[in-house]
């Protein structure tokens, strides 16, 4: 099926791992951050620009593409890779998270989830089987099991029942899968409870998937809790399979996730914040809207080598933002994604060189200056 995962080396002081994902559309060096292309486009960016800043794999959203333009249309146009002109690996989520966060009037049963579209109010019924069917039509290299992303906080009993159902849904996803050129990942749920997370992980491992994700985090819990739950999960996740922390997170979260043994991340933060003028830098966040940027001829981050920092001043970027110019959103997106992807590159090099602890100290020290 063309999918595999090679562990290249492990950090001596932490659970961090350096690996390679093998997919039908090429290899991906891990740990990796996946830019989010919700509607078959990473907002504001061309595929060539994504390549230029070193994106190896992107994520797209099943829920959105199912509703518009429709997965059958994308199938007729050669699948998602061809439709959007991206010839490198893609991961699609299952639609589970979006059904719970975007749609209205959802009703969950053992069979699946009935929900109303956020676009036109139409009714839909999403099941594990349909989720896999949609994802097979889209044709991503990695597809995800349909899961319930439980609300936070939630009662223990609810979380336990929800996690057990997510595991049953995962089995149905595996059974429904027809294509043999796509990897299928299971999703560990169980809220902020160690025993539920461990049960979820071991049950999924028993079914057997190509990779395992940690779902239901970054939903409102504190950072220490998020890091602790991640640590519980990675402690029991299969060593030889890729580990994906879904929807996470800040630059700090990436560093902390890697140290706890995570291989893959995705988050809208770098792209969404770019469009509202918040930029990530080696010294922390910079709000380009600030008056202090108005007459500042220096680049966003003097340590950054991205197109935006090589060519434009803070003064110009602030002007573009205030004038509502699309180029501003583009240049900010290039910078933020470059920052995230470059951070992951630095992390990979630090793991290889056996100096991840030093890297982490230096990462935090710069931000405190």
């Amino acid at each position: 099926m063309g999918f595999g995962f090679t562990l290249k080396n492990k950090d001596k002081d932490s659970r961090a791992r350096r690996g390679v994902l093998h997919t039908p559309h090429g290899d991906v060096e891990t740990p990796v951050f996946m830019p989010v292309g919700t509607q078959a486009t990473v907002k504001t960016m061309t595929p060539e620009e994504l390549e230029g800043i070193g994106a190896g794999i992107i994520l797209s959203n099943t829920y959105h593409l199912y509703l518009r333009p429709g997965h059958e249309l994308i199938r007729r146009h050669g699948g998602l890779h061809r439709f959007m002109g991206w010839d490198h690996p893609i991961l699609t989520d299952s639609g589970g998270y979006q059904v719970f966060s975007h749609s209205e009037l959802r009703k969950i049963t053992e069979d699946g989830v009935k929900f109303q579209s956020h676009l036109d109010g139409s009714y839909h019924f999403l099941t594990p089987e349909l989720s896999v069917g949609i994802q097979e039509a889209l044709g991503a290299d990695i597809i995800m099991c349909f899961d319930e992303c439980a609300p936070y906080p939630a009662a223990y009993d609810y979380l336990a029942r929800s996690m057990e159902m997510t595991t049953r849904w995962a089995r149905r996803c595996k059974d429904a899968k027809v294509r043999d050129d796509q990897a299928l990942f299971g999703i560990i749920q169980g809220g902020m409870h160690k025993e539920l997370r461990e049960k979820s992980a071991s049950d999924l491992a028993e079914i057997g998937f190509d990779g395992y994700a940690i779902g239901g985090l970054s939903v409102g819990e504190t950072k220490p809790i998020m890091y602790e739950v991640t640590e519980w999960a990675t402690a029991v996740m299969p060593e030889g399979s890729p580990r994906y922390l879904m929807g996470v997170g800040t630059p700090e979260d990436l560093v902390e996730g890697v140290i706890r043994g995570v291989d893959m991340f995705d988050c809208v933060m770098p792209t969404r914040n770019a469009r509202t003028g918040t930029l990530f830098t080696s010294f922390g966040k910079l709000n380009i809207k600030n008056a202090s940027c108005a007459d500042d001829g220096s680049p966003v981050d003097p340590e950054c080598s991205c197109y935006t920092c090589r060519k434009y001043s803070r003064a110009y970027l602030r002007h573009l933002h205030h004038a509502g110019e699309i180029l501003g959103m583009r240049l900010n997106t290039i910078h933020n994604l470059h920052y995230y992807l470059n951070l992951m590159k630095d992390i990979r090099e630090a793991i290889e060189a056996g100096r991840l602890t030093e890297f982490r100290n230096s990462f935090y020290n710069k931000r405190e200056v």
Copy 2:
């Protein structure tokens, strides 16, 4: 001062001319279309993308940049070229047209125009001297005289007085000019009256400018009137100087303008229409919003060699438009500007080859299919 105009050859059957504008930031082949970069950015495009589709010179707007971010700020940041990262020729308009079309509560006197900013309602007084001062701070290669763009329709007496004042303002602009590395163009006014246009042209020629523009067209008059007024003007405009038809127009207008002896054009049409989904093609306009595009795997224009047409389907572009994705506006803008710039390239080659009449016939024939 680094500015000049070379006439390379003239069409045998029309007034069309093939020339070269020499500017401090390089040569520009004419006839030329200038993409509009109102707020120090051609909307959605990077400078490199503009280069890639063959843009030789762009236009930027004095009125907008004066109000935001302010010409003194741009001067401090090395002028407009450096501020926006465009190292090729730029033309700035005088602010005259925008004062009349964008601002509120304007009051015109011999001295200048008092107006309220469309951004914050603040009061400003723009004079010929201030317009030149702003344009010198911005530092474009070609700057324009401050003129009154009279409303249409307007009484003959009003148009005559307005035109005479515009000529007096032109003299004041020339007197106010300090920098010797910028070309200054005079603007011919006079509404739709032959004798006023001729008087305006000859009075301006007597003062002496580096080039001459036809202002006050494309303001609501019919196409035959616009073409006729253009013809009256070019008949009396100095042969050895570049001729610029301001704010025009459709692809048909460019062909008709060139045939009547125009060397330079600018218009927001290709960029603005791109953002609302109207695309220019060799067979006429295409509305990407049309249901007929929804499942259409073909490119926008099979004859087009732009990035958008080489890589993406109508179905994808329609999806991006419907999903409100910025990439759609970008890809549409690339296509429309490529169409305009390529049309001008074809026109230049046709003039050189002495087959402009054949080109014009073929241009119209394709659109009638």
